[in-house]
């Protein structure tokens, strides 16, 4: 191994990896540098340069502007994540351990809901929420996220529960346990990793969502993505504010990704429908 260290191959390998890593980090660097500059110091030709004076006030300004949206996003994300993972867990339990005639067809029909471009359901969703008096507020948005989260959460839990040996379920049934007691006493306690993976996945998806946020909520119930788009949307913006806002909107999901990356990746892989 020692002799291979400085071969042409390894120079190429590390060189390419470093270049690629720089390319991937470039936007993060740019966002941080711009957010930390004094607004007057921001100019296009010197965009890459490190700020001469570190200025944290952009962050406090961004927090002030985005705080209501941030709180909306937290409420929305937590409620919708809990709803869709609980239902998804029950569905996954049925799909993997209590298959009945036609359940595979139903499962496939569920999955289809995951792959449709959401534009196709947007107009009736808007109408239905209006008819239910849920348009404009958080409850309607939460409902939408729960329903359209069902395909992916059912899929992840189905694949997760497939790993629980059927013999375990069978023996519990022989001991007289029924549908719900098997779920509560055996399956649910074994589901903690499944819940972690699914809720992390749902959390990031719901936190990052924009289309429903902008179409289905009024100003007071806007999630953070909509708030950020409004902050950055104007023509005469000074860029320190949108950059600080971007960092703020990204922080919760970035924190999840950095600290719980293993589960995040597992959710990512589970979402690609392979078993």
């Amino acid at each position: 191994m020692i002799t291979r260290k400085f071969t042409l191959g390894s120079v190429f390998l590390y060189g390419t990896l470093v270049l690629l890593a720089l390319f991937f980090l470039m936007p993060a660097y740019m966002a941080a540098v711009t957010a930390l500059k004094m607004p007057a110091d921001i100019s296009l030709p010197s965009a890459w340069e490190w700020p001469s004076v570190i200025n944290w006030s952009s962050f406090s300004q961004a927090i002030e502007k985005l705080k209501p949206d941030f709180i909306n996003s937290i409420i929305l994300t937590i409620c919708a994540t809990i709803g869709s993972t609980m239902l998804g867990s029950l569905n996954g339990y049925v799909f993997s351990k209590w298959q009945f005639k036609g359940s595979e067809v139903i499962f496939t029909l569920f999955l289809f809901g995951m792959f449709i471009p959401y534009q196709v359901i947007l107009i009736p969703l808007f109408q239905t929420l209006r008819a239910m008096n849920l348009y404009g507020g958080l409850p309607g948005l939460i409902l939408a996220h729960i329903v359209y989260g069902l395909p992916i959460t059912s899929l992840i839990f189905r694949n997760f529960y497939a790993q629980i040996p059927t013999a375990l379920i069978e023996s519990a049934r022989l001991d007289g346990a029924g549908f719900f007691s098997i779920y509560l006493r055996i399956v649910f306690p074994l589901s903690i990793p499944g819940f972690v993976v699914t809720s992390l996945w749902q959390f990031t998806q719901i936190w990052n969502e924009f289309l429903w946020g902008i179409c289905l909520t009024r100003h007071t119930a806007n999630p953070i993505t909509v708030g950020l788009a409004n902050l950055a949307g104007g023509q005469a913006v000074t860029w320190n504010l949108p950059m600080a806002g971007s960092i703020m909107a990204a922080l919760p999901v970035l924190a999840i990704y950095i600290f719980l990356g293993r589960y995040f990746i597992r959710g990512l892989l589970a979402g690609s429908v392979k078993e």
Binding site: L17, W48, L150
Partner: protein, 372 residues
């Protein structure tokens, strides 16, 4: 046994609420949008609780594809096709390349993997905002060469008006038929080694016949429009493609890396013993083995590129027609212009394109599950 059948009922009843929700919110809503797309819902009274809608058949679709005012939509559709193809090639290619590099187990692999994957966790609005700043003219990416002693670039990433690969929309039907012929011939040649007679009968002969037909009698195929209308790949879209590849190649990398790790070391050693080089191992052993992963990645990325809305919204805003996309136009038509019927028709076009590859994929998955 009565106990068991009662449990089966409980299982069914547990699933029932989700079935109803999905039934209404997915299938019912799709049906509703199809119906809406065949009405004239729009205009002044469109936001009333019980708006007036009249059935107009396929008029909205005819308008979109051949009408005078549909030109913008047709450009968006062309953009979307180029965008999808380039995103697929870029994200799958780069992701696979990084996965192969990381599969060599370099030092710091964990850190590198984290760096390559973090964009995936961000919202499109966040990445769109940052990339818009990075692609600003006279700044960002354009001034980078300055630091290496070169002249700065002057490319107008998000506002360029020049287009390449331009074609006349009048010829769209002829182009589509030639495309089908070309695809048939190509798959035929690919299949030739596996099943010769089937490849010739079902693919090569029809493909060549179709191709010859367009070439010789193409004039019979009607013009799609009565006037010339040129569409092409707008260069302003390049910036958006770059941002999307940046965000999603980490995802394909994670898929391939998981796949590579799943291949047993024995198989790799065996390939090496048989004299395979590193490149040969990936070319002939590893990548063909990961075909299901490639298919999943292609399906998911196509789905993402078809519904792409947030990133374009954040990068060029709703006003730049040059980087338009049907998903964005759908939003603007419906919720800004209040033309619900036209918006629904655009949504259905997107849906049909998506269904074209999702339905076969899901049926394939379903059959595969049945076999186990």
């Amino acid at each position: 046994m009565r106990e068991a059948s009662r449990d089966k009922w409980k299982a069914f009843l547990t699933l029932l609420p989700s079935m109803i929700l999905i039934g209404v919110f997915v299938y019912g809503f799709i049906g509703n949008t199809i119906w809406t797309s065949m009405t004239d819902w729009g205009g002044v009274g469109s936001l009333a609780l019980d708006p007036q809608k009249n059935f107009v058949g396929l008029e909205n679709y005819v308008d979109l594809f051949t009408g005078f005012l549909g030109g913008g939509f047709r450009q968006d559709l062309v953009n979307a096709v180029y965008y999808s193809v380039m995103l697929l090639a870029g994200a799958v290619g780069l992701g696979m390349f990084i996965a192969i590099l990381l599969d060599q187990k370099p030092k710091g692999e964990d850190v590198l993997r984290t760096i390559f994957l973090y964009p995936m966790s961000l919202s499109f609005i966040v990445s769109g905002t940052i990339w818009r700043w990075l692609l600003a003219p006279q700044g960002g990416v354009n001034v980078l060469p300055k630091y290496f002693g070169f002249e700065p670039l002057t490319f107008k990433w998000l506002s360029s008006q020049s287009a390449v690969l331009v074609f006349n929309w009048q010829d769209i039907l002829r182009i589509l038929v030639s495309f089908v012929a070309f695809a048939l011939i190509l798959t035929g040649i690919y299949m030739l080694r596996k099943d010769q007679s089937k490849a010739i009968k079902r693919l090569l002969v029809p493909g060549i016949a179709l191709g010859a037909f367009v070439w010789l009698f193409g004039d019979i195929i009607p013009d799609a429009l009565f006037m010339e209308e040129e569409h092409g790949f707008n260069l302003a879209t390049l910036g958006i493609i770059m941002a999307t590849i940046w965000q999603y190649s980490g995802y394909t990398m994670a898929l391939y890396l998981a796949g590579f790790n799943g291949i047993s070391q024995d198989l790799r050693d065996a390939a090496m013993l048989d004299g395979a080089s590193q490149a040969g191992y990936y070319r002939h052993v590893a990548i063909p083995m990961l075909k299901p992963i490639t298919i999943s990645a292609v399906i998911i990325l196509s789905h993402i590129s078809l519904k792409m809305f947030d990133l374009i919204f954040a990068m060029t805003g709703p006003d730049n027609a040059a980087t338009g996309h049907p998903a964005l136009t759908m939003y603007l038509t419906t919720f800004r212009a209040n033309d619900f019927a036209k918006g629904a028709a655009i949504a259905i076009v997107l849906f049909l394109i998506a269904a074209m590859f999702i339905v076969p994929y899901l049926i394939g998955q379903y059959r595969q599950r049945g076999r186990h």
